[in-house]
């Protein structure tokens, strides 16, 4: 057992030589991977990074603040289409596009626009709780999907929206460079989230989750923090959506159905509600599992569903909960 003597020591995200070695090995591994792995592996890991960002954002809302959202695909869609439209429809000068200004602007715009929508959806959340809030967010998700399907002029409708190629100086952003971009953005956002949940903001979120009346009594501004949770969560979803658009370079409303919202929710439930690493784990498992099982064809939904039920039955606190138990077992071994 490690002994902490000062409060600051408890604040470090990474503690001890072993953890630092592990972190640096992970970074080096992720950095060197493109030199040994196939493009498809990079594509898959980029998708894991995208889903991790979305799942971390959703967990801030559901796991930490206790506000259920069944319309998260709507925020992802808003981010993706904002990025797509910024890149495809704005008249970017060639030099600006070549130096990556177009997609950098698209990434920022996606986060911002999604955050605004998150704030708006957060307003009814001030009065709605539990199943009522679930239905409200569900309606939002479906509405976004319907608008994108039917407003052809804006979204390209079911014909889809194609994104131009991404450049950054001499590099064409696809496969390997794009993998670095997604991993970097995901790493940064995960780091931000890890710090956010330990700050006074994160504690306010948790207080609201546990009891909003008690939180209000102790001085937490419910209006500010509930809408903030929605806005931050939506911004994460929007940035995830923008990166998804960069990877696929093709957007279509069917990417963002109710099913996707449930899929994001199951990521954080399986990974572990109210934990940042859990969201990443859940996103990784639920991205890779269906891909690896694709050969099962029509049996896929059954096997996939059974696997998820098994995981929940064995470990209701999620994959991260299981990890915490394993770690505890090793720490206290041989007792």
């Amino acid at each position: 057992m490690e002994l902490k003597e000062r409060y600051e020591e408890d604040l470090f995200l990474v503690r001890g030589a072993l953890a630092w070695t592990a972190l640096l090995t992970l970074c080096a591994g992720l950095f060197l991977l493109p030199y040994v792995a196939r493009n498809y592996v990079l594509f898959t890991l980029s998708l894991v990074a995208v889903n991790a960002v979305i799942a971390v954002g959703l967990n801030l809302l559901v796991g930490y603040t206790g506000q259920i959202s069944l319309g998260h695909a709507g925020f992802v869609a808003i981010g993706a289409y904002t990025a797509g439209l910024v890149m495809a429809k704005l008249p970017w000068p060639e030099a600006a596009a070549a130096w990556g200004l177009s997609w950098l602007a698209a990434l920022a715009a996606a986060g911002l626009v999604a955050a605004i929508f998150g704030f708006l959806v957060g307003l009814p959340a001030l009065r709605l709780t539990g199943p009522y809030l679930t239905i409200a967010t569900l309606g939002f998700g479906i509405a976004v999907h319907q608008v994108l399907t039917n407003w052809d002029r804006l979204s390209g409708g079911r014909t889809g929206l194609f994104l131009p190629k991404l450049f950054f100086g001499p590099w064409r952003l696809e496969e390997r460079p794009l993998y670095y971009v997604t991993i970097l953005v995901a790493g940064l956002l995960i780091w931000v989230a890890s710090n956010l949940v330990r700050s006074h903001v994160g504690r306010a979120f948790v207080a609201i989750r546990d009891s909003d009346i008690a939180a209000a009594v102790t001085g937490v501004n419910l209006t500010a923090y509930k809408t903030l949770a929605f806005a931050v969560s939506a911004a994460y979803a929007g940035i995830g959506g923008a990166m998804l658009a960069f990877i696929l370079r093709y957007l279509e409303p069917q990417l963002f159905t109710l099913f996707e919202s449930i899929y994001y929710l199951s990521m954080i439930v399986i990974g572990g509600l109210g934990t940042v690493p859990g969201s990443v784990l859940g996103a990784a498992v639920l991205t890779v599992l269906p891909q690896q099982l694709a050969g099962l064809k029509e049996w896929l939904p059954i096997v996939y569903g059974a696997a998820i039920m098994f995981m929940m039955a064995v470990e209701p606190r999620g994959l991260y909960g299981r990890w915490v138990k394993i770690r505890l077992w090793f720490k206290t071994w041989p007792f």
Partner: protein, 395 residues
């Protein structure tokens, strides 16, 4: 420790992912004994009624060819992936097929919207693509067609021919279109509009549905309100059967025409007697027309996979999508490369397969088929009403 755990799990994940790697060959997907081809099909979801028998037909025919020793000593292996008729999933599937399974060619990817979505990726990566099951008119004027070969009909021309037939041979003055809101339905609808305008008939209503819709009663009411002489369908089997039953239920019985995509006797199972007398099209000789090779092919694939006998048209269509690829392989000889394959395909002139007939390609022509015939549905059979009708070659 926290981080350590994360790293271990991600490390394990990477091992799983990279373990699928295979040694590179001189030509992607080709070894001395095997050729790997891939396809993305709706094996679940609203269009599974197409995808399952089409893939089954392809699979059975490949087994038949492999049992005879393959082509130039190479067995063919088909890797089929399910996309549930969703374009984004088709994009992911195609990337997986090309990058991970390392297929030599994509054969018969189902869906106009899906094909459109994967087009750029396949062109950029110079992947051989034989038969996107998508409106052939989509490729008209398409410049980067070097690795693309199509024997799938054009919905635009089919819609035009159907509207023309309705106006001139069935006495239809007003028509309505029930179509799917994506590239498939939109192209068919556009064709009908053009055909109707040329034949001086009127399109009085157009009612579109979403692939995700499960109820079309409102659509049927809208069609009845417009009261057209004929309704033309560009729909999935599920939605086609639903709308026909729904119209019959509310006592609205116009003449009905439909794309060849619903020319399968199994539609009688889905739609019941309401499917009788519907006018459709066909692009190869259908079972029951007395064509010996088509009957023989159907018998062969039904022997290998008995369930295919339930969907004879879709299963034979599966064979028809694959046949030109196999002919290209035969002509390319033992030295199979992308270059030799393209040259071989471009040498095909007036070629008759077991199912598709009079296919021609050339250096400037990658649309191999440009004719359909009008047929009528009668008691699980399809009677040929016209001779083959040709339309212009677009690419």
């Amino acid at each position: 420790m926290k981080i350590m755990g994360r790293m271990l799990l991600i490390g394990a994940l990477l091992t799983v992912l990279t373990s699928g790697s295979l040694a590179q060959t001189q030509e992607r997907g080709v070894t001395a004994t095997e050729v790997v081809i891939g396809t993305s099909q709706p094996l679940s979801g609203p269009a599974a009624f197409w995808g399952v028998p089409v893939t089954g037909g392809m699979d059975a025919w490949i087994k038949f060819i492999n049992d005879q020793g393959g082509i130039h000593g190479r067995k063919i292996r088909l890797v089929a992936r399910d996309d549930s008729y969703l374009p984004p999933r088709a994009v992911a599937n195609v990337r997986e097929l090309v990058d991970r399974e390392r297929v030599f060619a994509i054969v018969g990817l189902l869906g106009s919207a899906n094909s459109f979505a994967v087009r750029d990726y396949l062109v950029e990566n110079q992947v051989i693509w034989v038969n996107p099951l998508a409106d052939a008119n989509m490729w008209a004027g398409f410049k980067q067609k070097k690795h693309l070969f199509v024997t799938f009909p054009s919905y635009l021309d089919e819609g035009r021919i159907l509207a023309d037939y309705a106006a001139k041979s069935m006495g239809v003055k007003t028509m309505a279109v029930f179509y799917q809101n994506d590239l498939y339905g939109q192209k068919g609808f556009l064709g009908v509009k053009r055909g109707a305008a040329q034949a001086k008939a009127k399109v009085v209503a157009s009612v579109s549905y979403e692939v995700t819709d499960t109820d079309v009663s409102g659509h049927a009411l809208k069609l009845r309100e417009a009261n057209p002489d004929a309704v033309i369908l560009y729909a999935t089997p599920r939605h086609g059967a639903l709308i026909v039953r729904e119209m019959a239920k509310i006592g609205f019985r116009p003449k009905i025409l439909s794309s060849f995509t619903l020319t399968d006797p199994a539609m009688f199972t889905l739609a019941g007697d309401a499917w009788n007398d519907i006018i459709l099209t066909a692009y190869f000789p259908l079972p029951g027309w007395g064509d010996a090779r088509v009957e023989e092919t159907l018998a062969t694939i039904s022997r290998i996979t008995p369930a295919l006998a339930q969907n004879p048209f879709n299963a034979l269509a599966g064979v028809s999508f694959l046949e030109p690829f196999l002919e290209g392989m035969r002509r390319a000889g033992p030295n199979l490369t992308r270059e030799s394959f393209v040259t071989a395909m471009e040498s095909i002139r007036n070629w008759d397969g077991m199912v598709v007939r009079s296919i021609s390609f050339g250096p400037d022509r990658h649309q191999g088929l440009n004719r359909i015939a009008i047929v009528k549905a009668e008691n699980k059979q399809f009677k040929k009403l016209t001779d083959w009708i040709s339309y212009p070659i677009g690419f």
